[in-house]
């Protein structure tokens, strides 16, 4: 956790880095680089986000991860698959509404068909028979609906328990909750139903994410920065409908063996 104690310095150096740096080992503000991949202007609240990240990490270690691990150990795979299918199926109405708002009736019909098929043939959503019938799930949310109308993602946000997000997508999540018919329909024990459904969905998501998150913790030199980077790249990818813009990629530069910009030639890379 000592990694984060100097997070504030990181914010300052990132913000102030403009002037050319001396060719020295200890540099606070290296020169700006043409590689857009290096900067994170999308995280103006890094200091607060890093604190949230620490809090989120603590809650995760004490509460969420143990619960998710326990869930995984206690339930057999088919049961977990069933839970995932049911919670996923209950999410289809929100997808349908968002697809309509996105003016994508074709995809609204896919979601509607999935809901119908899985709720009936799939025994109340327990089995995802729609995917097998060529109706693969294409998730979406209100954040993407906003994106379709030109709303930018806005600053990066890390929210304890909920995880990485952006201002737009966090607001979108709240709207998605309000768009959910189950949020409005009143029936006996509806509070328990909503609570159990949210808890199961969270346990399922967390247990599936566990290998990746453990790997992140083990291997990243700055887990906060790695998670932010991956989240923002993925969010950008989703905003562009999964299309790849190769021209926006950073340059990899010339072959390192023959540098042109370094004052002194580096020693050749040792090959073990």
């Amino acid at each position: 956790m000592s990694l984060y104690s100097t997070a504030l310095a990181g914010v300052l150096t990132t913000t102030l880095a403009a002037a050319a740096a001396p060719a020295s080992a200890q540099v606070g503000a290296p020169s700006a680089s043409p590689a857009t991949s290096e900067r994170t202007p999308q995280d103006p609240w890094e200091d607060a986000n890093r604190k949230s990240f620490l809090v989120g990490g603590a809650i995760d270690t004490i509460l969420v991860r143990p619960a998710a691990v326990l869930y995984q150990r206690l339930t057999p795979r088919p049961a977990r698959d069933g839970v995932r299918n049911v919670t996923s199926n209950l999410g289809e109405p929100v997808i349908i509404i968002n697809r309509v708002l996105q003016l994508r009736p074709d995809l609204a019909v896919v979601a509607l068909s999935r809901l119908t098929v899985n709720s009936t043939l799939g025994v109340a959503g327990l089995f995802d028979v729609a995917t097998g019938a060529g109706l693969a799930k294409k998730g979406t949310n209100f954040g993407q609906t906003l994106s379709r109308y030109g709303v930018r993602a806005g600053p990066y946000l890390f929210i304890p328990v909920l995880g990485p997000s952006t201002v737009r997508d966090a607001a979108g999540r709240a709207v998605d909750a309000a768009l959910d018919p189950f949020f409005w329909i009143r029936f006996r024990d509806d509070g328990y139903f909503l609570g159990a459904r949210a808890a199961l969905a969270a346990l399922d998501a967390r247990s599936r994410a566990d290998p990746a998150l453990q790997d992140l913790k083990r291997t990243a030199t700055d887990p906060y920065a790695s998670l932010r980077s991956a989240y923002l790249q993925n969010a950008d990818f989703l905003d562009h409908g999964g299309k790849l813009d190769v021209q926006s990629l950073p340059d990899f530069g010339p072959e390192p063996a023959a540098p042109t910009s370094t004052p002194a030639a580096p020693t050749p890379h040792p090959q073990d």
Partner: protein, 216 residues
């Protein structure tokens, strides 16, 4: 999860769990995009298809022990990935301000670190297949090759490979992307952030790579 760039090939073949930590929260995920990409550079496509097949063959070879696989892999990496270029890239703007001596030490530590990280994942691999579907030329000799990886846990996954032609005329991989997340770019942001937060102390980063970041 992380972006251990030097052994890109292996990690990408071990999608989706290892690669998708960006999506581990409850974000919506699109299905694999239709393979409608044009064939921009056939030599680059052939490179990815051939090397991926070699790698998959090693991974699926039940007659090899884990130790043998590790050994074979280390030899394969230099042919498949442009390790010097990746090493230079992940340092970002700090590449230009460190001394040759520091760079050499970083390169050595980074290589060992990446090898270790990827080797721990070797045992997790279970049979997958890769099929190249097209490519886009960014500029001559700098190509993104698209492929579809099937047979993993989830459905088919689109994996994009950035390959760059070296001075020897051969292509090598420098980066790999799954669900929008590029490994070397993520790696660069990880390292640069660590350096930013420690006043550019390259020795601290090297020390972290040597001890394992999780204990740093």
């Amino acid at each position: 999860m992380n972006a251990r760039a030097a052994l890109l090939v292996m990690l990408a073949l071990q999608t989706p769990a290892a690669l998708t930590f960006g999506l581990t929260q409850t974000r919506a995920q699109p299905g694999p995009a239709p393979a409608s990409r044009a064939h921009g550079d056939l030599q680059a496509e052939a490179f990815v298809q051939e090397q991926a097949s070699r790698v998959i063959q090693v991974l699926n070879d039940r007659s090899m022990s884990l130790a043998e696989k590790k050994q074979t892999f280390r030899a394969l990496v230099d042919e498949v990935a442009d390790v010097p270029r990746i090493t230079s890239f992940v340092l970002g703007r700090y590449r230009r301000v460190i001394t040759p001596e520091q760079y050499a030490r970083f390169a050595s530590a980074f290589r060992d670190y990446a090898d270790t990280v990827y080797e721990t994942r070797l045992g997790l691999y279970h049979g997958q297949a890769l099929k190249v579907t097209g490519s886009t030329v960014r500029q001559p000799g700098d190509v993104v090759v698209s492929s579809l990886v099937t047979g993993g846990d989830g459905g088919p996954t689109v994996v994009n490979w950035r390959v760059i032609r070296g001075s020897d005329g051969r292509y090598r991989a420098v980066d790999v992307q799954v669900q929008g997340v590029w490994l070397a770019i993520t790696e660069q942001q990880d390292f640069v952030s660590t350096l930013d937060n420690h006043r550019g102390d390259i020795d601290l980063l090297i020390a972290q790579l040597k001890t394992g970041p999780g204990h740093g």
